[in-house]
Symmetry: C2
Subunit: 168 residues, 2 copies
DNA sequence: CTCCTAAACGTTACATGATAACAATGCAAG
DNA sequence: CTTGCATTGTTATCATGTAACGTTTAGGAG
């Protein structure tokens, strides 16, 4: 069973906000995600090369999406690459391997906080106040008979609890 | 109550494919949508100017999304405008007034087939075979307590019934 | 260990998508 | 009429994304 936040679009609303919207031990958050990424790659044979690892680390710095060119700027500053394909290829690898996701509304990318969990239908809660994005599990009920779903994009934009309370 | 296709993500899978995936009387389909658009604009005071009306007609030609530059090419051919802002402004108007929707996955726009229906949470079924897109109603259950949803993006890519049967 | 191949990387050039800013025009209310 | 605001026209530029091609490198086959 998935342990991701213990949240699901199918069950009743959870009582606790997702971790991305709460203060938490982010260092262990990052460490866990990197560890999971290493394991997954080791298991699948995917190669987590220096640029790819670094891009994942950069994405993991915050629970908020980054544009490909933002990532590229970071890589450039660190001497790891300066041309768009460098960033897009690394991001593509991470997305293909479930280590990151693309947020369509924002044309941006975010690290997957729990890549080992079953992750076939992620949904994203985008707070327009603080810019944080939380990943939760989604299952779309009631797809019309005969339509075979292969991929889903589920994104909700709004205000997280903290930003609702203090609308600065 | 919404009459849109009588489909909902909340109820059991409907037995009939959405109209966009079936042969149908498209002329009356278009006429109905234009009529509804006129009424809505008359009621709200929004001005359905020639360019805006024409863009809506162009989008209504098929149940498939068009890129802003595709629309612009059509406008240009008809002498209605040749610069990107012309297309983007008309599309923006249509989206703001619920007469069209943006498909985020595709960076494209599609006419709303039933703009008078309640339309607060549309979901889109995108067939990668024929390129058609059907709009159905979606309600996301189980949003975590405290997150206030303002807008949703729900898109499912896959194969419609017809394309599943004949995978050319 | 050496060779071979497939994957990864670096770079150029370009394609596609979107908007800021400002001037000119139209239109409707007072 | 005239004033004010929405709409349109245009320029210029920014943002996002990818095709294509040659080079390098890692890792397995022999």
């Amino acid at each position: 069973m998935s342990t991701k936040e213990n949240l699901s679009f199918r069950q009743d609303a959870a009582s606790t906000p997702p971790r991305a919207f709460r203060p938490h031990d982010h260092d262990s958050c990052v460490a866990g995600a990197m560890q999971a990424a290493e394991s997954l790659c080791a298991e699948s044979g995917a190669r987590l090369t220096p640029v790819r690892r670094r891009v994942l680390e950069i994405l993991l710095e915050g629970h908020r999406p980054m544009g490909a060119y933002d990532v590229l700027a970071r890589l450039d500053a660190e001497g790891l690459g300066s041309k768009p394909p460098v960033a897009y290829r690394a991001l593509g690898f991470l997305v293909d391997n479930g280590l990151a996701h693309r947020i369509e509304r924002l044309n941006a990318f975010i690290a997957c906080p729990r890549p080992t969990d079953d992750n076939h239908a992620p949904a994203f809660l985008i707070c327009r106040g603080c810019g944080s994005v939380a990943e939760v599990s989604a299952t779309l009920p009631g797809i019309p008979k005969g339509f075979r779903v292969e991929r889903t994009t589920v994104e909700a934009e709004g205000l997280c609890a903290a930003c609702t309370d203090s609308p600065e």
